[in-house]
């Protein structure tokens, strides 16, 4: 009976594959609406009160706008601020705002609103998740309704970039407290409806101050189950999926003319983080041995089905200041064993590996555990949820190894933080970061960044694995979505259906 059943099922799958290419996945091409999938549902829609990336995916530059914005290439562009002047000493920034800009609630966007927004984010009782972005700000003042003066307490090379983050968007003083459930910004789309557990719908803002977008209605659907995501794309229920959760299915989609797969860059450095103060891992040789034991190509092939770039330090390969350090610790199990022997761990030892939920982490974890066992390190895998990861690993540093992707842009500075979960302490590195913060000239900044990359790679703070790709699957007729993700955003302003 079982045998018969098996053949029946196989026959069923086979037939369905014969039918598959015939079917047309054209749901919305004729209209101007868009159904786009994202993996995670945001907890709420206020980017100034949570670190959840899904909030930015939906709202950044679609609903909310900041003084500046970060574009597809990671460059700072003006947005609500038309232009700005910087004083000679670099401590005073004067922003000149666009006039005639209104929030979706009808109130005017002016210096009052900007001052309100920035002060709110900086306040001592603020729940902003990226409060450090505003650390350099001394005061915000309004000499005129459309002129904002920001004074700094020290020179800052990154202020304009920081103000382009989703956490720094300008909100309306009138409705700021309701933004979690009824987001109000100045953007080209306004919030329409949130069907919890299902989708958020936004519609075109016809009063928008800038060029109007082509789409009139966009539904963000939340699908975390990879199979459901694939089925929704194949069946045409979705027009696009940003951050497609099933890399193993991409090849299949690429060979299908109806779909376009964009493999872009993201800011996600995926690392095997090591607790630099715990047991054998405090020994540089042990950490180097671990780095030597890992073959990045296999990892990228096995966990990501070939999609992802190897990295040798905590830095995005597409950044102009990137240094390729992947050759520093090449795959060499023999060398790894020798290093372990030198460190006095010839007989091998046990480590735990705590893995958060994303599939890149779980899959890489299985592969790495297998690789490390070949050099004598016995790894126990402990899968954890995000909540537990944050409290066990991140906060209490109760871990040996973990795999995680650091998705914040330009976040090499975390290695200079006291008490960060890597338990890495280097005064030399801190000095470089300090210098970087105060340097404004680009080429000098790049030199410092390069220096920083080499330092942490030499100290082998973590094993640096690969840069997470940003994969977008879309209907071939849909155009204008970002290929790269320099910040977590799905900018819909220029997205349109081709004829």
């Amino acid at each position: 009976m079982g045998q018969l059943y098996k053949y029946m099922l196989i026959a069923l799958f086979m037939t369905s594959y014969l039918i598959l290419p015939v079917k047309l996945a054209m749901a919305n091409a004729s209209t101007n609406s868009l159904n786009i999938g994202i993996a995670l549902e945001p907890p709420h829609l206020d980017p100034t009160a949570s670190a959840a990336g899904a909030i930015d995916s939906i709202s950044y530059v679609n609903i909310y706008e900041g003084l500046t914005r970060i574009d597809e290439h990671g460059e700072v562009q003006p947005l609500l601020a038309k232009f700005w002047n910087v004083s000679k000493d670099g401590l005073t920034y004067t922003f000149h705002l666009h006039e005639n800009v209104a929030f979706h609630d009808g109130s005017a966007m002016n210096c009052e609103a900007v001052k309100f927004s920035l002060d709110r984010a900086r306040a001592s009782d603020s729940v902003n998740a990226q409060k450090q972005l505003f650390k350099s700000i001394e005061s915000v003042n309004c000499p005129g309704p459309y002129e904002v003066v920001v004074r700094l307490n020290h020179r800052s090379g990154s202020l304009l970039y920081n103000l382009g983050w989703g956490d720094a968007v300008i909100v309306s003083p009138k409705s700021a407290n309701d933004n979690k459930s009824n987001p109000v910004g100045t953007g080209p789309f306004r919030f329409q409806k949130w069907q919890k557990g299902q989708q958020v719908t936004i519609i075109r803002n016809d009063q928008y101050w800038g060029p109007k977008p082509s789409l009139d209605k966009v539904a963000f659907k939340f699908i975390s189950n990879p199979n459901a995501a694939l089925a929704a794309i194949l069946s045409g229920d979705l027009d696009a999926f940003s951050g497609f959760p099933a890399p193993e299915a991409l090849m299949q989609l690429m060979t299908n003319d109806q779909f376009q797969v964009d493999i872009g860059t993201s800011e996600g450095e995926t690392i095997l983080a090591m607790n630099n103060k715990k047991g054998p891992l405090a020994n540089l040789k042990v950490r180097q041995a671990i780095a030597h034991a890992i073959k990045r190509q296999f990892l990228i092939e096995g966990a990501m089905f070939g999609f992802g770039k190897p990295i040798g330090s905590h830095f995005a390969p597409h950044h102009p200041a990137y240094v390729d350090l992947t050759g520093l610790y090449p795959y060499d199990p023999q060398k790894a064993k020798e290093l372990l022997k030198e460190a006095g761990y010839e007989g091998g030892f046990d480590l735990t590996l705590k893995l958060p939920p994303p599939s890149y982490a779980r899959r890489s974890g299985e592969l790495i555990a297998s690789e490390l066992s070949q050099v004598g390190i016995n790894v126990t895998i402990i899968p954890v949820e995000w909540a537990q990861w944050l409290s066990d690993v991140f906060k209490n540093k109760d871990y040996d190894l973990t795999i995680v992707s650091h998705t914040e842009p330009m976040d090499i500075g975390i290695y200079a933080r006291d008490d960060y979960y890597f338990n890495y302490e280097s005064d030399a590195f801190k000095a470089v970061m300090e210098q970087l913060e105060r340097t404004e000239e680009t080429s000098a900044r790049f030199e410092l960044m390069k220096k920083a990359q080499v330092m942490i790679a030499k100290d082998c703070v973590n094993a640096f694995l690969f840069q997470l790709p940003h994969t977008t699957v879309r209907n071939a007729k849909l155009q204008g979505l970002w290929v790269n993700a320099p910040i977590q955003a799905i900018d819909l302003t220029t997205v349109q259906w081709s004829q």
Binding site: Y5, P226, N227, P383, Q388
Partner: protein, 303 residues
């Protein structure tokens, strides 16, 4: 024809004889060997159990060694059913999955029996307030949504096999309380119990020597049904990513990991699904076969 051994008129005479009662309780296992569904069920269960037990000691290939170069190999003499996305032998994975399924379901049903049966017997023996408390306790456990509580348990205590066992086991307790209580109550009027009591035997002794052997058949039938349900429950939990963790594997986990590869590697999703179906079918058929033979009404008509 064999079933005539305990025909209805004969039963009437032997109603008060314990020996006959007990013999009937065990005899049906012999009788069961003549039931087709029992035999098929037993054969399938035996297959799964054998694979699972072997997997505890030996696997054809080491599934903790991953080799990306080896992935998606077609079936061969080296890899009986081919290899998966990490180059692991699928047959070994299925065996390891059988082991997980068996361990979880046996221990979960074991928890249910070890805790549930004494409680049920106590409720039946003492009646009164004990009975009321135990039955309310039963209602209480039944009232909690089992899947959600299982998810909660694994969130609290970590995603390990033991927690899947506990989560599924808890919800087996009330089932066995009910069966044991019901079975024991039906024996209450029997004369041999009275005789034993008159002979001065204590409650515990009577329970162990007279009640338990007489409800063993009921418990075994229920256990085989609970086993199949536990296998399904474990598959569901591990499909959600809870339960067995590498280097162990489980059929539900295999299904979860391969579902998006149906288009180019359908066997990866079909085989573990099939394994679940076969083992659940096996235990169900076995339980059914046993129950049919137990049920006097049904037996009367068949004979």
């Amino acid at each position: 024809m064999v079933k005539k051994t305990v025909s209805s008129d004969k039963r009437k005479d032997t109603r008060f004889s314990e020996l006959e009662d007990r013999a009937r309780s065990w005899q049906f296992f012999k009788v069961a060997l003549h039931s087709k569904s029992f035999i098929l069920g037993a054969a399938l269960s035996f297959l799964i159990i054998t694979l699972g037990v072997i997997a505890i000691f030996w696997l054809p290939h080491d599934i903790s060694k991953l080799s990306v170069m080896n992935r998606f190999k077609a079936p061969s003499f080296v890899y009986l059913l081919g290899t998966d996305q990490y180059g692991r032998d699928i047959f070994s994975m299925l065996m390891s999955g059988a082991r997980t399924s068996l361990i979880v379901s046996l221990f979960a049903v074991g928890i249910g029996m070890v805790i549930g049966v004494p409680l049920g017997l106590l409720a039946a023996g003492r009646r009164g307030i004990y009975d009321i408390i135990f039955m309310r306790f039963n209602d209480l456990i039944f009232a909690f949504p089992s899947v959600l509580i299982a998810i909660l348990i694994t969130s609290v205590y970590g995603q390990a096999l033991i927690n899947a066992v506990i989560a599924i086991g808890i919800f087996n307790i009330p089932v066995f309380v009910r069966v044991a209580r019901g079975g024991a109550l039906s024996l209450l009027g029997k004369e041999y119990l009275l005789a034993a009591r008159l002979a001065g035997k204590g409650r515990l002794r009577i329970t162990l020597e007279h009640v338990l052997p007489n409800i063993a058949n009921l418990l075994i039938v229920q256990a085989s049904i609970q086993l199949s349900m536990a296998i399904l429950a474990e598959a569901g939990l591990s499909y959600l990513g809870l339960g067995a963790q590498p280097p162990l594997t489980s059929w539900g986990k295999m299904l979860n990991e391969s579902q998006t590869m149906i288009s180019f590697a359908p066997q990866l999703a079909i085989l573990p699904g099939l394994a679940i179906v076969i083992s659940v079918l096996g235990f169900n058929l076995m339980g059914d076969g046993l129950r049919d033979l137990l049920d006097p009404k049904l037996r009367r008509r068949v004979s």
